[in-house]
Symmetry: C2
Subunit: 427 residues, 2 copies
Amino acid sequence: MRKRVSSIKPDQVLGRRGFLKGAGLAAAATAASWSAARAGEPDPAIVKLPDHTRYLGDGVEARPYGKPSKFEAHVVKRDVEWLTVSRQSSVNFTPLHELDGIITPNGLCFERHHAGIAEIDPAQHRLMINGLVDKPLIFTMDDIERFPRENRIYFLECAANSGMEWKGAQLNGCQFTHGMIHTVMYTGVPLKYILEEAGLKTNAKWIMPEGADAAAMTRSIPLEKALKDCMVAFKMNGEALRAEQGYPLRIVVPGWEGNMWVKWLRRIEVGDEPWQGREETSKYTDLLSDGRSRRFTWIMDAKSVVTNPSPQAPLKFKGQNVLTGIAWSGRGAIKRVDVTLDGGRNWRTARIDGPVLPMAATRFYVEFDWQGKELMIQSRAMDETGYVQPTKEELRQVRGTNSVYHNNGIQTWLVRANGETENVEIS
Amino acid sequence: MRKRVSSIKPDQVLGRRGFLKGAGLAAAATAASWSAARAGEPDPAIVKLPDHTRYLGDGVEARPYGKPSKFEAHVVKRDVEWLTVSRQSSVNFTPLHELDGIITPNGLCFERHHAGIAEIDPAQHRLMINGLVDKPLIFTMDDIERFPRENRIYFLECAANSGMEWKGAQLNGCQFTHGMIHTVMYTGVPLKYILEEAGLKTNAKWIMPEGADAAAMTRSIPLEKALKDCMVAFKMNGEALRAEQGYPLRIVVPGWEGNMWVKWLRRIEVGDEPWQGREETSKYTDLLSDGRSRRFTWIMDAKSVVTNPSPQAPLKFKGQNVLTGIAWSGRGAIKRVDVTLDGGRNWRTARIDGPVLPMAATRFYVEFDWQGKELMIQSRAMDETGYVQPTKEELRQVRGTNSVYHNNGIQTWLVRANGETENVEIS
């Protein structure tokens, strides 16, 4: 295990001008072809380009609800069939290597459900508040929408994201190693307004949201968190929640593990102690090497991944390339991301671009020149609390390799001389 | 025409607690029913609720690319058939009354095209830079993606948004009066990097982006704007542009009229004067009452609209209600939004929630108690430059009623005693 924090060399960040100049590029080559064409010697590669100006396309009535171009058909959520016994209690993964910016489009948000996707008619849906409250209440969706709303961009990460990597590099692609995360803008009602409407008893200390699907998912959440920043959300990225994301209502638990963000929310019970349900005892606890388990490990610690290059998105060209990825922390905003191309010998501070929001994905970039040398790429996130993303080895020394959850170790991609990229570990 | 700016009474903003208390609500009623049910007298309205816990839903393989719930089938872009001769040179409208927050999901971004939707294979697409440059260049999509990228949330508004309202209230619904706007996060390359790569001649003063569709759309843009904040974008809300939004490449011209944001971008010519094309002479100029035209009216001035209530989203209940809408300005960030419920006699400052970003939609709310009285609802946006959204009458005094474009006048909705809402004007 190496000390890495001290070896950052920010002066290695490339300048921003003249990227393609003198780097032996397609652009220069095609420009030469274009000049040749202008000189009366047409380049067949250019004159063969399709001429869309000859054809009218579909009109404005064709796509009442739009979908991606047919040339993007490969950009989909994917599941891994052998990973679970049933695909109704399983997971699929966001294609992180196909995305950019910080927003995940609703059609590509990973799914994790325990009894398939409930299809709920919002007119027939109710949210009940019961337990240690002055006045039990049942709300219709219309009632919920009469409370003041807020809009927040948050990441949602499954506690088991990267869970297959505890024993070593397994899955070949950031979609599979890190794709149980998405970031959207939620619109909803601060949970505290709803709890205050019911009135909290003085001994109230915990809440238990419950889902309306066949899993009837429940989790215990401390009241302090519920009152601080939890939301009852009905919209994502402006439109209604998707069925697979809990339509018509889910609880948002910013920065905490995705399993707690109960979907198809139908009830919130208020109590004085945790309920010790299946999902917080048998599951979503972290088995250590001595046989004991960590529990109530709710917060998703700072983490990052390079999404390009990665096994599904190898390097294609020598010369100027853009490395990109996302970083996030359940404890607040990302402060810095460092990237190494040589397995940790040298680090440079990545360029962050786009909104930097607490408990949301943050986009980073490193522009670099590649001349066909083998690379060992890693990224390391630091959040505003000073927490630094650990190596996988550092994590294993404390937590062993029995766990499934909360693997936020540094990911390594090996880029070979031909650009092909693999999931590897540095020992 | 009334003086309105001086009559704001912010003390009329309602407090945020106890919204549903004592307001004669469905919530209280159903809570009573629930209590009755617990006491052994089940309320048929409650016991009839569907029990989703009995049925497994679709698994994770079912929706590789997701779509909205079947219960949201009414939430679509809509066109108005009589508005244009051809639906291939026409427009459809974003259902603003169904949205919240500031992000428009890609499936609901309004469309305006002049020759239908071009379906372009990105592998066959090129961007040419020519004209007053040191070195004409042709880029592949791969080349474009080798430049440093940025991520920005911007609104895009068609200059003709609200264009049917110049002569009076026409269209009954904010989808149709104001739905030629959307706000997404773009990922792309600052245009200045691409122009600098080609090298600008000293007499370069203008650029002309050109589309690859059958309309071969062109517009003249001052070089100063091009170098300041224009982007060549390939992603929206994280994923590839939609075909109807210019896939694989469009130019982003922040704060300026949508017609300039050329889609299916295949060429940028650099010149020393504007090209005076159809779209900046015969169209997208503002005919005044004396027969002269304003031209080069590129900036979209501050504007706002109440999206709920509105004709397609009437008030449903007495008691606590949430009024919401969006405001935006092509000159920067929104500073304040005021709302009146009584046709301008009293104004209150709306609560803004969510990101407040320059040249992006800003979400505002007013929580209010409604007891069935007729309302005349208006919103008025102010931006960071101090510009105040004018009334329609103020606009007409200067601009007449011959124009189609740049109608940013204050919208009035009349809410009747039964909650039904109409598009009206206050004279």
